[in-house]
Amino acid sequence: MPEHQYFVTINNTNKVAIEPGVSTISDVILVLTLELNVAVAINDKIVGHRLWPTTVLAGGEQLSIFGAIAGG
């Protein structure tokens, strides 16, 4: 991996490259082509949908992304 690249870790497994100080949660969701009915936590704290476009990532964060499930 080139040294100048920055990543966030998704669900403790996959890494997604980001541009630190520029990329937002919305960008990550877009890259992953996820449905909007998911929740996102940074370092175990949920970030509400409304804040996704303005929450800028620095690199190195642990993102937890999970979809709602409805089964009973």
Partner: protein, 257 residues
């Protein structure tokens, strides 16, 4: 001198001896009224554990009938119950389990039309339903009525669990976490489910209900628990209120209402 009748004291003795339970907690359970919405896998497990623990009154809500494919995980039903209404089959089973229990079966779909009537007098609601429309409706109804809600869901090997308590205003509600969509959600019917995973998640839900009724402070009132019964990895994520949430942003804590 025990305040409970001797047969009840003996019946519940193993839990009364717990430090955080005590006889006073048992009396509190016996006067509690819990509404269980959805009588599939989670509802079967949770309602059975609450009935066994001595919760005084249960209201069971579900419009479905028992199907053959339910039997591996809906343990209160057997083959003779197939095509019978789930709420009546479950109510009968729970009465056999605990003759002190008052149980009210309601063979209806929970909706905005009947929500106020069905939640009247409830101390706690358990969401054990199987679709998003009902889940968002339950959340809205509980916020409006300022009743605590324990929402559990399960599919495959995974579960999710959270407590929406009126006193935890800053943690928000179910709709602060998930946005309503028109998408068809995967169901146990389409995506499959492990019966043992259902029992684990339903057990967690019942445990949380009992702790809540006993007055314990719970981390789940401020977080959502992701349960993975395949990897055995559970995760607690801290929730936060969406200040623009159309459901809960106008409600303050129940203690300030």
């Amino acid at each position: 001198m025990s305040q409970l009748p001797s047969d009840e004291f003996i019946r519940y003795s193993r839990q009364i001896m717990l430090e955080n339970w005590n006889e006073s907690g048992q009396i509190r359970l016996s006067s509690a009224n819990v509404v269980v919405i959805g009588c599939g896998g989670l509802g079967n497990i949770a309602a059975s554990l609450l009935a066994g623990a001595g919760v005084g009154q249960l209201t069971l809500i579900d419009e479905d009938v028992v199907e053959l494919s339910n039997l591996p995980r809906q343990l209160a039903f057997d083959t003779a119950d197939i095509e019978n209404a789930k709420v009546f089959a479950l109510a009968n089973r729970l009465r056999e389990q605990n003759d002190k229990l008052s149980v009210s079966p309601v063979a209806e779909r929970f909706s905005t039309d009947n929500a106020q009537k069905l939640l009247s007098g409830a101390d706690l609601v358990l969401d054990c339903s199987d679709n998003f429309t009902t889940r968002f409706c339950i959340n809205h109804a509980c916020i409006s009525a300022q009743i605590s809600l324990i929402s559990a869901s399960v599919i495959g090997w995974q579960g999710q669990l959270m407590l929406v308590a009126p006193g935890e205003h800053d943690a928000g509600c179910y709709q602060c976490l998930f946005q309503p969509t028109n998408d068809e959600s995967p169901s146990c019917k389409t995506a499959g489910v492990s019966g043992a995973a259902v029992a684990i998640v339903g057990g967690y839900q019942a445990n949380e209900a009992i702790r809540h009724l006993l007055g314990h402070v719970s981390e789940l009132a401020r977080s959502v628990m992701l349960i993975d019964t395949l990897t055995l990895n559970n995760q607690l994520l801290e929730r936060t209120k969406d200040q623009s949430c159309i459901i809960c942003s106008h409600h303050r804590s129940i203690s300030h209402a």
